[in-house]
Symmetry: C2
Subunit: 217 residues, 2 copies
């Protein structure tokens, strides 16, 4: 298909497609004439993946490029693909790392029986969050037991979800299909659970703070 049809099929404006081509996110089409190229279904899928990373995942072009490089590397293992997606999703605080909090987080993860990937960005992010919670909570209890109790409702909520996501990945499919599903599932589920949590929070706030007569404005 020509660029105009690729645009119609995916709903991505031609100027945006050209920008993704220039930035190297989208592979070039097959040149059929000067200034003309043919695109195929692989371009359609790649374009939707880019949009999912950039628009829904909120990633920068560079973050998306890093992930796509691992996706396209036939020698990259599945945990390297997961690591690349997690690297873009995590916000690792740039403050001085805090060995005490990291050790506490490791105790917590071990107590749940969770295996952690080497260099896990989520582990460092969690340590930063725990430190921020401690700074903001007057009389914060720094014991491992208190931390485990505070995190338990959140960990319980995601434990089964994550296991089901991985369980539902297709078996016996080519590597490129599996890898694309892993990246998509990782990014979409992150935003899905975030947006649903905020919607549930809105509802809880409206129930608690707004008089019934105000809710149907």
């Amino acid at each position: 298909m020509r660029l105009a049809e690729l645009s119609r099929t995916t709903g991505v404006p031609p100027a945006t497609i050209k920008w993704y081509l220039r930035e190297g996110l989208l592979p070039k089409g097959e040149a059929t004439a000067r200034n003309q190229a043919q695109y195929d279904d692989a371009h359609v899928r790649r374009l939707r993946l880019i949009r999912a990373l950039v628009e829904i995942g909120g990633m920068t072009t560079q973050e998306a490029r890093n992930i796509l490089a691992v996706v396209d590397d036939p020698n990259a293992s599945i945990d390297q693909v997961v690591g690349a997606a997690h690297g873009a999703l995590a916000r690792v605080p740039d403050s001085d790392s805090d060995a005490t909090t990291l050790a506490q987080v490791d105790h917590f993860l071990a107590s749940r029986g969770w295996k952690v990937m080497p260099g896990s960005p989520a582990r460092a992010e969690l340590a930063g969050i725990v430190r921020a919670m401690a700074q903001f909570t007057p009389g914060y209890d720094h014991s491992d037991l208190a931390l485990a109790a505070g995190l338990a409702p959140y960990a319980d909520a995601v434990d089964q979800l994550a296991a089901a996501e991985v369980e539902e990945l297709p078996r016996d499919v080519p590597r490129d299909v599996l890898v694309e599903q892993v990246v998509l599932g990782t990014v979409l589920a992150e935003r899905l659970i975030g947006s649903l949590r905020r919607l549930a929070q809105e509802s809880a706030f409206l129930t608690r703070y707004v008089a019934p007569s105000d809710t149907n404005r």
Copy 2:
């Protein structure tokens, strides 16, 4: 306290504090001499709040400034504060809005009995995610029933969490304390659940794809 002590107390480098002062995120201290000012506990708390928004929430200076403006407005209602925090956390896709998907999302939210705030950014974000899932799933079932079934495990997971968070907010505290807790709780819980989900996912991947002998590298 002087700026050097404010820096020691919060762990924020003096240059970063000065930048927050210039950017208007942190209110000026009380001038005691030329080029010298005194800071108090309100500055310590504000500085920690800024760091939570910027470092943990991953917000831009402008997004943090927008939230702090609502936090500091004594006439802003609690749902306006929630709306400001959600506005910075949501990634609303800039593609053409899709009335069909939005209507489907509204049916889903109504089926859960969730009240939605006017102009909810999370609602628009959820519609974008649902559209992306549909584009990527071969043979996607566009019925309301299939959508409700697909979202149910995620919605179930966050429903009790969000209700508990709002329930646990302090009562009978001054507005500024409550508002600060609402913003912090909203931002920290978003990142907390995200990082824990990724850690649970890492563990599920390592269990499924990596041989036991590889996991203790």
